[in-house]
Amino acid sequence: MATSLFEIVEHPIDVEAVRKKVVDRNAGAITLFVGTVREMTNGKKTLFLEYQAYPEMAVKMFEQIAKEIKERWPEAKIAITHRVGRLEITEIAVVIAVSSPHRKAAYEANEYAIERIKQIVPIWKKEHWEDGSEWIGDQLENVPYAEGKPPIRRGEHG
């Protein structure tokens, strides 16, 4: 059965399943980024998080990121799964797996992917604290975007 490389899921993420998607006989390295729910942010205690996505577009943006990675690291293979819904402290929100013949590209492409996810993939988190809750905006502090939309790299969207 063909499994999709890019997924938005409502259930806990199986890290090993994401890793398996990028297994390659010519890979000498697989890097895994596992993003987890943190309890303390700037001294404030999070009780739990709620993630929401625009799933169809999020998957398209994952594909866009994969395309950008292909241009920079042609031999890298990537898979991304992001979870939505209610997540408890320490639970996994996102897993990025990158395989490559050599480790440097696997590390670099993986970091590139998480940075781009935070720029262009329509996923939102709501922080729930003891004294309230709030949808968190742009953690990169670059809104409004200078060009009215986030920077989409070469190859698409003009």
């Binding site: 577009m57 999020a58 398209k60 329509p122 939102w124 949808w135 905006g137 409004p144 986030p150």
Partner: protein, 77 residues
């Protein structure tokens, strides 16, 4: 008909994730104004927009059958 999708705090402000509106051939900017009039609690001025799952600028034209999503500042990962 244009299908308008709302997420995060926009969805909570309106109380629904989807709004169908009878507009055709207008700009994203015009839809924003229409929505703000219809739902005075909304502030869409600095919101990004996507038409049929592609980011667009406010001068993009939305046609009958399109899906227009307002994208609040994202915070995934």
């Amino acid at each position: 008909m244009i299908q308008v999708l709302l997420f995060a705090h926009l969805q909570e402000a309106v109380g629904q994730s989807k709004v169908m509106i009878e507009l055709d051939g207008c700009t994203v900017q015009e839809v924003k104004k229409w929505m703000e009039k219809e739902y005075p609690q909304l502030s869409l001025e600095q919101m990004m927009a996507a038409v049929n799952e592609e980011f667009v600028t406010d001068d993009a034209v939305v046609k009958d059958g399109d899906t227009l999503a307002f994208i609040p500042p994202i915070s995934g990962g």
